[in-house]
Amino acid sequence: MDHQRASRRQAILKGLGKGGAVLAAASPLHSYATRNIVTTTGQQCTVSGNQSAAVSASAGTQQTCGAYHPRHFIAVSQSFSLTDNTGYNANQQAAFNALSGSAVPVGAEHWRADNLAVFIKTSATTMRRVARAGWPGTVAANATVVSVFPSAGTGGKSILAQLYDAWTSGPPPGETDLAYFLAAYLNAELGTPPPSFTAALPFDGPYVQTQYNTNYANALTFFKLVCVTDPVTRAFP
């Protein structure tokens, strides 16, 4: 038995107790009935469950799963000028130096020295800083899209830049297909639900990656259904 399984068994048995507590925990029989975890529309909180009819369990025995909208995961700054660097701090100045000039294409990225935020050239004369917001600790701020979905064909573009692009390529803002898969991945790795829900997505990041490769359309429908929290609809400042 590997370490993870051994730890799980230990935790399960700890919750079960010893001796007579085992049977006490199992009685009466109906006490072990499980609760289905459903979406807000009453469908099973899985990709395949989403295709099924709504479950019939009573509301009192259900938990509702939910996840954050793609827009939730980025924090975007005001627009910085690429023609006037008056008052810029060191990070902004470095970005100004890297992104200004007609030779640098719109969409170019310049990572801050600590790799925790990226400046993106948003037009010939402007840039914005995009940082992660509410990310799981397992995903680096400067992770690229293809590091998660190798077949996405986005070159070296970062997840942060991709989510920002999604925001600007609506309508609705932030809701491209790829953004939903990225949000599902981040939510799954996060493992905790938004405050208004009682259950997180019941799978991890690798599951989302598999769905992207093998079950794209069904998974996308499901992820659009559950990744709904914090869909900020106003424009960035």
Partner: protein
């Protein structure tokens, strides 16, 4: 004609095995089990989790699972324990987490 209860008594205890690889997550003291193929999700209580955890390690019958459970938890191996395990296995089968398997 053999009475039904006698016919049952003559049958060997069925083996159970997990349907597909499982992922586990503990939420607020409850075990949530995710079956990967086809994707499905259930929340189980401590006893159900223990039974499922033992079956996950390898197929077995209710008496075998009860024996393992008795050893792990230091509770007595009784007919009542076997019955509880049997009922749980049937329920886990009904929700698609375990299935009958060949010995």
């Amino acid at each position: 004609m053999i009475p039904e209860r006698h016919a049952h008594a003559a049958l060997p205890a069925p083996h159970f095995a997990i349907v597909a690889p499982l992922q586990w997550r503990e939420i607020d003291g409850q075990w949530v089990v995710f079956r990967s193929d086809p994707p499905g999700l259930c929340e189980v209580d401590a006893f159900g989790a223990a039974v499922l955890n033992i079956i996950e390690e390898g197929p077995g019958t209710a008496p075998q699972v009860a024996g393992t459970l008795s050893r792990l938890t230091e509770c007595a191996y009784t007919d009542e324990l076997v019955q509880q395990v049997t009922e749980h296995l049937r329920w886990l089968a009904s929700v698609g987490l375990v299935e009958h398997a060949l010995p």
